[in-house]
Symmetry: C2
Subunit: 310 residues, 2 copies
């Protein structure tokens, strides 16, 4: 998607992950004037301004005026393999703070890049990068929230919020394991990830929740059911998804049990995690991840303005 | 490895799996005259005699005399994607029976191919193909064994033997999941599978055994430990292996608890599963998988001879 012409951005918001780059042209009031998207995520780029800057400029150049436009970015763009490393702050920590942005080098005088740092946890070791900005956005809309934010994804996170800070969190490799099994394992012959058989999903979910130790056996059962009983590949895909979510929700029990839960998810994730949380009797509210990341980038931009005024 | 010349096989034993083909030239007394090996496993070949026969003849032609030489094969060569499908027999069943061999079509008059069928289980759905021949070989050496055979591998199996029959079994996708995670996931940056740090392995094993529900979180911890603490990649690889084995041994507890265990493993598998079984206080004897598969093929060849005499 190419950027619109005739746009003059006051600042540019950027969410640059492993596989996707998204940018928004913002007006002085924080309204979106235009948006653009590219598949040139971190994974395909050479580290440093050398690899990243031309890609960003390709996307947002039509929005840039004569002066220097601030760009506020979050996500893997701030990792060691990104444009510039924006360090982790250790929890407990606010998802966004006055020193959360790192000024990153750029060659083109039309942009001044600021990258949000991630959060880290010492024990158990854990990291997030990008989610802290979504959390900051969520908290800007829901100040005073105390409870747990569930963030499904490639590396799903459960985040305990206390006093507007990230107190503790845990990541699960659920999404990545699902993709590996569905695309690259022997199960690929037995699965069709289209559709959503909720009954099959919930049965596998409950089974994995009660018996997480059977996970690796359940995987092979999916293959054998296909060979012996010709199980519908959509049913098998729902069972794989259910087994992985059951394992995750079992492992995340110390997080969700008795806590208010904000589920930050859309589409397939919202449907599956919503069904899973309902199944375990956990009440939750649903929040749009895109709206949250944009609100988080707005909040980060405000810290820059505040710093200038101070 | 090419086959030796000046060998005249009475019959040929073949173990043809997903990734490897092995063949042995046998004398009338069941002694090995020569052996050969190829990387042309089932996965790389077109189904049917068309794809498989030239590969086998390339390997064993030097062993064939003027007449027709019986070839007895086991493994994925008998799957739907193999040379010819050798059906499953449903458990409880002897690992080898008079009707366990399927006569498969071949074009070259110098060979007569017989493929061992696999075993299946209806509920939970499960299958084995190749292992039944190893089990038959093991039982030919250990008649009267009652207990459990643990068979580590790409799809590890735990097999309950009662009255010389496979009574019940369970497969775990442990080996395949390890390979996918180590080679294709974000963990590939944090792991070095060389060496074996037994302390790290056992710690992760015990942790997963007690808390299998934390498995997907433990995976991400390996990544975060590397990023934050620069964990030695060999330690991380041992922890991944320990976590996967802990999950498997937890799931296989109904099999190993209070049972005599025969561990059919060599090399790395023998070391790791041996350490794991010792850790849970399970006594076991160790058996060589290669010797067992060859003994199983010998036993299968004998059923052919018996059938001729009868």
């Amino acid at each position: 998607m190419s950027a619109d012409a005739d746009i003059n951005a006051t600042w540019v918001a950027v969410d640059w992950g492993t596989s996707t780059l998204r940018a928004w042209a913002m007006d002085p009031g924080g309204r979106v004037l235009a948006q653009a998207r590219s598949d040139q995520g971190m994974a395909g780029l050479a580290p440093g301004a050398h690899g990243f800057e031309p890609v960003l400029l390709d996307l947002i150049a039509p929005w840039l005026g004569q002066g220097c436009t601030p760009v506020v970015a979050c996500g893997m763009v701030g990792s060691r393999q990104g444009w510039a490393e924006a360090g982790y702050r250790n929890v407990p920590a606010a998802p966004l703070s006055d020193n959360a942005l790192t000024r990153a080098p750029s060659h083109d005088p039309r942009i001044a890049l600021h990258i949000a740092g991630g959060l880290s946890q010492t024990n158990p070791a854990d990291v997030m990068r990008g989610e802290e900005t979504q959390i900051a956005g969520f908290l800007s809309q829901t100040p005073g929230f105390a409870g747990v934010i569930a963030m499904p994804g490639t590396h799903s996170k459960w985040v305990h919020i206390v006093d507007a800070e990230v107190f503790h969190f845990v990541s699960f490799m659920t999404g990545e394991v699902y993709a590996l099994l569905a695309k690259s394992s022997v199960l690929r012959h037995s699965l069709d990830p289209k559709g959503f058989d909720e009954a099959a999903f919930l049965e596998a979910f409950s089974d994995a929740l009660s018996h997480p130790e059977r996970f690796a056996a359940k995987l092979f059962t999916l293959r054998a059911e296909h060979l012996l009983h010709g199980t519908d590949p959509q049913v098998a895909a729902a069972r794989l998804s259910g087994a992985l979510l059951g394992l995750e929700v079992a492992g995340a029990k110390p997080y969700w049990l008795g806590q208010p839960i904000a589920l930050m998810a859309a589409g397939t994730h919202a449907k599956r995690y919503g069904a899973a949380l309902t199944e375990v009797g956990a009440a939750f509210t649903l929040h749009d991840p895109d709206a949250c990341v944009l609100d988080g980038l707005r909040a980060a931009y405000l810290t820059l303005q505040t710093a200038k005024v101070a």
